[in-house]
């Protein structure tokens, strides 16, 4: 469904992604783990279409060239990005925002727009998923929300938008265990045979709640290893030190204790 081939991204002279390969099939959940500064968030923004990067390589979603699309066209194509730092938008009502978003992608897909009353039913269902109260919809988007509320609002948006591919960027950062449980519950409820997810995280903790089908280790702009969820457990025990140290060496294979690189390109 998602095909990423030799993806590069740079800001000015600074090369951040250095040739990234990834294939995500329908219904699969892929975890991308890596140390700070490895390019995890850049990868997410490259998929969502943020301006400011020099992008190279190929990214297709169901065969369509994603890199040629505006962020809004990507959303209409089925990409949803859960932000690590959801943006506060004072003065814009959350309910109005959600309905505008949903109707924008419906319009772009040639579907009929949804009326205020029908939308309320959609929103209510989504709110139950992330245990939100009605007053959440009456507030301005993320304005004055706590860290946990902002992240829950992201999952609420995902539930309303019903994307084909969700890219969740450090959705677990800054959450206490109760908020993490609620958010993971929401994400798990949205898993389905036609919906794929890329879950980006620094810590294995999130993967105790959202069980991935595949785990990839991203270091210095490349996926250096791929495996099943046991790879995450290995990282939990050993950290990223193996990969980071090896990267500083002239000969990577000389690094001690480095696991065998599987899918590194």
């Amino acid at each position: 469904m998602l095909h990423v081939e030799n993806l590069t991204a740079a800001i000015g002279d600074k090369q951040i992604l250095k040739g990234l390969h990834l294939d995500v099939g329908a219904g699969e959940v892929h975890a991308i783990m890596g140390p700070n500064g490895s390019g995890k968030s850049t990868f997410a923004h490259a998929l969502a279409g943020r301006d400011g990067y020099d992008i190279g390589g190929t990214v297709t979603l169901d065969g369509a060239d994603l890199l040629e699309m505006s962020p809004e066209a990507r959303a209409a194509a089925g990409i949803f990005m859960g932000f690590q730092y959801p943006v506060e938008i004072p003065g814009v009502n959350n309910m109005y925002f959600l309905r505008t978003a949903l109707n924008s992608v419906r319009r772009a897909r040639g579907e009929t727009e949804i009326g205020a009353r029908d939308f309320l039913a959609v929103a209510k269902e989504a709110m139950e998923l992330v245990e939100m109260k009605q007053d959440f919809l009456d507030r301005a988007v993320n304005a004055g929300f706590s860290g946990g509320e902002k992240k829950r609002n992201e999952i609420l948006q995902m539930a309303v938008m019903q994307p084909r591919l969700a890219v969740l960027d450090e959705t677990d950062s800054g959450l206490d265990i109760d908020a993490l449980r609620i958010i993971a519950g929401g994400v798990n409820a949205l898993r389905g045979p036609e919906r794929s997810m890329i879950v980006i995280t620094h810590y294995q903790r999130l993967l105790d709640y959202i069980t991935p089908d595949f785990v990839h280790v991203l270091v210095d702009g490349r996926i250096v290893q791929s495996g099943d969820r046991t790879l995450a457990l290995h990282l939990e025990d050993h950290g990223y030190a193996d990969y980071v140290n090896s990267d500083l060496d002239a000969d990577p294979s000389a690094a001690p204790g480095r696991p065998l690189a599987g899918a590194s390109s």
Binding site: D51, E72, A75, A101
Partner: protein, 408 residues
Amino acid sequence: MTTSTAAATSPHGAIELLDSVIRPTRRDEAWRYAPHRQLDALTFGPSVAVDLPADLDEQIPALDGPRVVVVNGIVDPVRSHFVTPHGLHVASLADVSESQPGLADRHVDGAELVDAFTAYNLAYATDGAVIVVDAGVDVATPIHVVDVVVPGAATNTSSTGVVIHIGAGSSATVVETRLGAGNDSGGSNVRTTITLGDDATLEHIVVQDLPANQVHLSRVEAVQGERSTLRTRSFNLGASYGRLAYRVELAGVGAHAELSGLFFGAGEQTLDQQITVVHRAKDCTSRQLFRGVLDDASTGVFNGGIDVCPGADGTDAEQSNDNLLLSNRAEVNTQPRLEILADEVACKHGATVGQLDDTALYYLRTRGINAEEARRLLINGFADEVVDDVSIETLRDWITRRLGHDHD
């Protein structure tokens, strides 16, 4: 510019003064950013009646309740509704000048000739609206004053007077809509005086939406009694040069004034707010909250003053002006003026100038909202902080609709 107090100036006396009146120049701080060529092209004189263009009716916000429609400085009795509930009196200024000259005189007596245009208004604004609320009356429905200019051959600028008095313990809402019609350039010059009795409350809204080839000059002067509350909301939207000047005097102990405003410019508009709040009595509070949105090559001006007089101890005054520039040719000039001559005074002021937040735009676009719509959402979100202050739903909707389409 002439600055003098004309005690007991009658309209006639003011006309004699006009010979000595000099129009403001760029050297006058309060007129620094005004388009002086356009101002110099304005001509003033006695009001001349014309018919209200039919299509203008649709532009007027449809509010229920009493309404005074003033066309070229003359009240149009056909389009006005003077029927009022008990305790509220709405009439034309020309009628009141004859029947209750004392009331009309209060409008001009002791008027400060702050500039030439005030002098012209005192001389020529012989008609307009008078709104009086007796003591102890709560008026539920808003009272609407609609001022329309249709620039004519003799003079191209209309002069209108509005008198508002809210009796002790009473409350009311007055909406003043200022519009223009016709293809000729010109403008309107409206002066409003407000007196609030002790414990009175007034919400006073000005919506300025003249065509882009006209000039609007507005001056609101308010004097507040003890523990009274004045809430002004101004929407400076139309005209090539739209000037909304306020002078609010907190004369009674414990009075509260809240002035909010939105100026929303495009094209080559200049939208000018000149605000002065005078704390004359003890323990008064005042708040100024103004927001500007400037697109294209438009200019915004916020000149906000807080004067704390000797003896006005316990003053609590705040002022803020936040601006959003949508184009690199747009500009805003924001200046606080604080003069504090009393003790135990709390004064705060702040101003910001910013652009649309790129990260917020991106965030909205990742939700499928196209760039133009995302821009509009952010702009309206910024403006709504002021628009939401308007308690009349039909007017709020009218303003929102007006902000929705671009100004040509």
